[in-house]
């Protein structure tokens, strides 16, 4: 489904990172680990199409990113990719269900996969271990763990092919991380979506089919 070919990135301050070749199949779970500054988020941004390719290419279902304009890349991201941030995943002035609905707001193809939006949001929220009542709770009253689950629900809405998660557990304690990942992975199992997650936490490697350590790549 997704493969990277000879990706390199030159930062303005002079640092250059050569990324390993990556191949991700449907339903596959890939963890990219490494210490801070090793280029994890940069790689994720390149895959998300948020960062312009400098060298190398990314193929998604046979389509080269380099052949797409930035406008097409935005549309492509809306149609095929769900994104989970490290923190501050939710828009504070929107309700939980409005935050989740943002996942399909900019994609007609993902919208077409959802018959009843409210029903689908409720289903996703429940599958991630949250009660239905959370939908009407103000976002700022949710715990960080609950907020991350809502972010996962948004990324999953409309069944995008690939979920990108940028250290979604970094703000969670060990117990909550375990519970969160269990519920997230159970949901992925049922939807057969691929996930690329970056994390420096090596204790979570067993949740993933493949682990790429960017530190070793640089070494």
């Amino acid at each position: 489904m997704l493969e990277t070919l000879g990706l390199e990135y030159h930062y303005q301050h002079g640092k250059k990172i050569v990324f390993p070749e990556i191949e991700v199949k449907r339903g596959q779970r890939l963890l990219i680990s490494g210490f801070s500054g090793c280029g994890k988020t940069t790689l994720l941004s390149l895959i998300a199409g948020a960062l312009k390719l400098q060298a190398g290419d990314i193929k998604f279902d046979g389509i080269n990113y380099s052949s797409m304009s930035s406008l097409l890349l935005d549309k492509f991201r809306a149609d095929h990719i769900g994104y989970i941030f490290q923190t501050l995943n939710l828009i504070p002035f929107l309700s939980v269900s409005e935050n989740i609905a943002l996942g399909i707001r900019f994609s007609q193809s993902r919208k077409s996969k959802v018959n009843d939006l409210n029903q689908e949001i409720t289903r996703l929220v429940k599958s991630l271990g949250l009660g239905k009542e959370v939908l009407t709770t103000p976002v700022n009253r949710l715990s960080v763990g609950q907020q991350q689950r809502v972010a996962v629900a948004r990324a999953l809405l409309g069944k995008p092919d690939l979920i990108l998660a940028d250290e979604p557990t970094s703000a969670l304690d060990a117990e909550t991380t375990k519970k969160f990942l269990n519920e997230m992975m159970d949901t992925f199992d049922s939807t057969k979506q691929a996930i690329i997650m970056v994390s420096h936490d090596t204790s979570i490697t067993h949740y993933f089919d493949t682990v790429i350590d960017l530190n070793k790549q640089h070494a």
């Binding site: 941004s45 960062l51 935005d74 809306a78 943002l102």
Partner: protein, 415 residues
């Protein structure tokens, strides 16, 4: 997009409201000045019609018009009735109505004149005065009231009134030895006529029989009015005279010949010219206010752009989430432009409502202060143009933050 935008703006309700209010207030200021100036000009211009010239003592033409037509400003000197009668004999005169001013009744000016005043003096677009109730005076003890006088003082035909010497009521200033009976009430004209009390010149002369140098010397109760010699009540002087000419072509020739009248220092003033003199003076002040209003509008627009730019940093999370979910930079830039449009439109709607309220109160104030009742439109084409210009300037200035958003790389906000 609009629902997202409105929710986002609601989350920043205080700064957004303040900027909207300041923009709205500046528009209200601009439009109110414009409307009041136009309304006053229209009201003044409509206050006198059909009068070709006003003859009065030689003084400032504007002062004469303001005092005789609008009852504003300082009293002018009088002219003798002999001069007035001389002029009346001229072949180019169609009609002449003398008036004497100076007295009042409970704050309303008294206009002593002849009954042909109601026939010749017109207002608005050459509209004749109409009696709402009753008829013009025919006796020296009769009076006609303007509509506002009758309404505010609750007078009707048959009511009796006493006149005060001068324009301010004080002890001993009342002509309490003679009463006038109201015979007619004029229909509202929206001009100073509504706030005037009309008496017969002879009745006015009678009031002042026992007065010397502004003080009552003897009471009318002490004399037998029927024993007064013929012509005793013929006025000796009047304040001015309104003149209608047989042909308007002769107007400038007429005014020139009046200036050259050798027996008394008098002048003939053309009301329209005197008023245009007034507007040229007022216009300068008005232009100054307008310039100030436009500067305030510009400051408000700068404040709006500053608010949007300042909020961009706080909205980093919001923008990043939109972008990560597939929103294009164009979408976000349009959102920023729409924000300025929403602020502009809300300010415009608020300004229209507020200007209407301000205009309503201004009309009342103009009526109270100047006796004029200008008619204001709900919204004029010129005002729509002003709104359009402000909206366009708002959108144009919002391009700055819009470009900033457009050029922002998603990766910069993700990392």
């Amino acid at each position: 997009m609009l629902s997202l935008l409105l929710k986002s703006m609601r989350s920043r309700i205080i700064p957004t409201s303040l900027v909207t209010i300041s923009l709205m207030a500046s528009m209200v200021l601009l439009l109110s000045i414009e409307r009041i100036q136009q309304g006053t000009e229209e009201g003044f211009n409509q206050s006198i019609s059909g009068v070709d010239a006003i003859i009065g003592p030689r003084s400032s033409s504007l002062e004469l018009v303001l005092y005789t037509v609008f009852h504003l400003g300082r009293p002018t000197n009088n002219i003798t009735m002999k001069t007035v009668n001389d002029i009346k004999q001229r072949s180019d005169i169609s009609w002449l109505v003398p008036i004497a001013l100076g007295d009042s009744h409970r704050g309303f000016r008294v206009v002593a004149t002849q009954s042909n005043y109601f026939e010749h003096i017109k207002y608005g677009n050459n509209q004749s005065l109409i009696f709402l109730n009753g008829v013009a005076f025919s006796e020296l003890s009769e009076a006609v009231l303007g509509s506002d006088v009758a309404e505010r003082l609750n007078y009707n035909v048959g009511s009796e009134i006493q006149i005060t010497h001068g324009s301010v009521e004080s002890i001993g200033s009342k002509h309490d030895d003679f009463s006038f009976k109201v015979t007619g009430i004029l229909k509202k004209t929206g001009t100073p006529i509504d706030q005037a009390i009309f008496l017969d010149l002879k009745g006015y002369e009678l009031l002042h029989l026992g007065w010397m140098s502004g003080k009552k010397v003897f009471s009318l109760d002490d004399i037998d009015l029927s024993s007064l010699p013929a012509g005793a009540l013929d006025p000796k002087t009047v304040t001015s005279a309104f003149v209608g000419l047989k042909s308007k072509i002769t107007l400038f020739k007429f005014t020139k010949s009046i200036r050259e009248y050798s027996k008394e220092a008098i002048s003939a003033v053309i009301p329209g010219i005197a008023l245009s003199e007034l507007w040229s003076i007022v216009g300068l002040v008005d232009k100054g206010f307008q310039l100030l209003s436009w500067i305030i509008i510009a400051i408000s627009l700068i404040a709006m752009v500053t608010l949007i730019i300042a909020s961009l940093d706080n909205r980093k999370q919001e923008m990043t989430i939109y972008r990560a979910n597939g929103a294009s930079p164009k979408f976000l830039a349009i959102m920023v432009i729409c924000e300025s449009l929403v602020i502009g439109l809300v300010a415009i709607i608020g300004a229209i409502i507020l200007v209407t309220v301000v205009t309503y109160f201004a009309t009342n104030q103009l009526n109270l202060a100047l006796g004029i009742s200008p008619s204001f439109k709900w919204i004029s084409l010129e005002e729509i143009k002003v709104f359009g210009l402000i909206l366009f300037a708002g959108v144009l200035s919002s391009l700055v933050p819009a470009v900033m958003v457009f050029r922002k790389n998603l990766h910069q906000t993700l990392s």
